[in-house]
Symmetry: C2
Subunit: 353 residues, 2 copies
């Protein structure tokens, strides 16, 4: 699989399947692991990191832990391609900006991947569509066990898995859900909901991390504590809170539908109309319009458009994707024009009604 292959299709975690996909876009599990008796990434020499990279890569390939997979060496790809991988949620900023040997190994459906030599030697990542914390965690554990047949993880009986940063130690588990909360946004309850989430010890960020909170009412919610709690406790806690948020969002949407159906319908259809007719579009506008259309799909106010298509638009319309598809670097206005063209093309065959 090459980046060219990737740009023309999307990770299956965007296919709108799974439970509650209209509110929970996706579930993600990440396990941090380090190799025994090796220095952490930012302490190790380049040679050692190169050795670790080879060792992990070989283990993944030989065990087929990710099924068919591709190794992408970050040093060998351009700045644009690094941003492309960031936009696909396959790598972290830290991984692509390190000056030591790093890589991401990506399973063919992009649901499973391993970052090598990020802050920790291994960051095993599984993403699934919809609300599936248990299943997603089990998949991550399977990869972890599979690799354990070739690799020995740094582990302490007292602390559990050892990590470069103490906030990841213990289970090494970070579980997150990507929530779409337009109902709470439109009814003005989002601030209180997010505050409630923070109060029970979970972290809230925007679609593309810190500082992107306002984008289209998309929010990532994840656990902050990894130490002193068992994996089932961590997952159970996130699951419980997420269920409450799903319920509040559902109530808010029902209230909107009862009290302001014409206004919401208008908002949804205008968003769809603009996506289908604009000639210049900034990425944040596409996100906001997709947010409205997704809400319309969830509320049954619009049909004939698949949720997965709208999810795809949100990723494909990101700047590095637009440049990759164009095959060259673009000025901001060229990018806005190419983005609008792509969005129109992808929506042109919809029989929306």
């Amino acid at each position: 699989m090459t980046l060219e292959d990737m740009q023309n299709r999307l990770g299956c975690w965007l296919d709108g399947s799974g439970p509650n996909p209209e509110i929970v876009m996706s579930t993600r599990v990440r396990l941090a692991r380090n190799l025994k008796e090796r220095r952490f990434s930012h302490r190790a020499e380049k040679d050692e990191l190169q050795q670790i990279l080879t060792e992990v890569t070989t283990a993944v390939e030989e065990t087929q832990a990710l099924g068919e997979s591709t190794v992408i060496s970050i040093r060998e790809i351009s700045e644009e391609d690094r941003r492309f991988l960031l936009e696909r949620h396959l790598v972290s900023n830290e991984l692509v900006s390190s000056d030591w040997p790093t890589a991401v190994i990506v399973g063919d459906d992009e649901c499973r991947s391993v970052m090598v030599n990020e802050e920790d030697h291994l960051r095993i990542q599984v993403m699934q569509s919809g609300f599936q914390p248990g299943a997603t965690w089990v998949m991550a554990e399977e990869i972890e066990s599979c690799l354990e047949s070739r690799l020995e993880y740094a582990f302490s009986d007292q602390y559990g898995y050892l990590t470069a940063c103490p906030t990841n130690a213990g289970t090494g588990l970070r579980i997150s859900v990507l929530l779409h909360l337009p109902g709470l946004g439109l009814t003005g309850q989002i601030g209180r909901a997010l505050k409630g989430i923070a109060q029970v010890g979970l972290a809230v960020r925007g679609l593309y991390g810190e500082g992107t909170e306002a984008m289209g009412n998309f929010f990532q919610v994840s656990n902050q504590t990894t130490l002193g709690q068992s994996e089932p406790d961590i997952i159970g806690s996130l699951e419980r809170v997420t269920r409450q948020v799903i319920e509040h969002e559902g109530t808010a949407r029902r209230i909107l539908l009862k009290d302001a159906k014409p206004q919401i319908e208008d908002k949804v259809w205008r968003a769809f109309g603009l996506l289908r007719s604009g000639r210049l579009m900034r990425p944040d506008e596409v996100l906001n319009l997709c947010s409205a259309v997704r809400m319309g799909l969830g509320l049954g106010l619009l049909s004939g458009v698949s949720c997965s298509l709208i999810n795809s638009l949100m990723v494909l319309s990101q700047p590095a994707h637009i440049e990759r598809i164009a095959g060259k670097s673009l000025s901001e206005s060229e990018s806005n024009a190419a983005r609008a063209d792509l969005v129109r093309k992808l929506l042109q065959n919809c029989n929306a009604c």
Copy 2:
């Protein structure tokens, strides 16, 4: 012809024909006349006004001055229907709010009409699509001459035709053009252009009279002086100024196309997309969106939509039209919903590209 017949089609002065229809939507001529030895409308008793009404109506019918025509007695129609006639530019506010006997006699194509017992006994009106000052005036004169075979007009050798208000005396001629100036609007030159028009003694108003100046960059320009100038002088002066405005507007559009084509194309297509997808629309929004689409048609940025259809939308989407088509009175939000539905329906078969 009944109001029901009228609501389902439009006056031919909206058909987008004639010279320069992309900038001059229509040309209108109005001649004010009064009957000899009769008191002006606001001085006359009801009996006298009723007599005048009968006399004028009979003259119009017997001479066929308007071709096939219909007499609409204002006292006999509802408030809503009066607004309906106002929206079609067939009557004045003064005519429909008088408490004495008034009527409008409308030719079947709505291009020719006569208001009876407005401020003056007769207000002969001719509207034509595009920029046709000479032809429109000739048509009005023909109606006037035709009626003169049955009616005797109040005329003074010293002053010319006598009218209730001295500002209309002499020729009794008011000629106006309805201009669409989005180029001057978007390039920020509209203020200067309108000031220039005012400086040569012409009046500028919005689409629906005073206070509607900002609507969609539509402006009515008309002569203010009727006395002491011959008809050809009045018409020549308006014609000259209008040609200059057409030239400036054309230059502004060419500059926009050269310097900001992507932005203009985006604006035009977004407007079209919103018209085709909105579920709630206020009348002023429809006007503004139609203005952008009309500009797009004029600049060749959009095709497959006729100018006459867009012109129609601007009239059909007015509040009293929406209520007439619905067959009942509507709340504001019901009206906005019905308006959006009508606009979508009228545009649904367009193969815009």
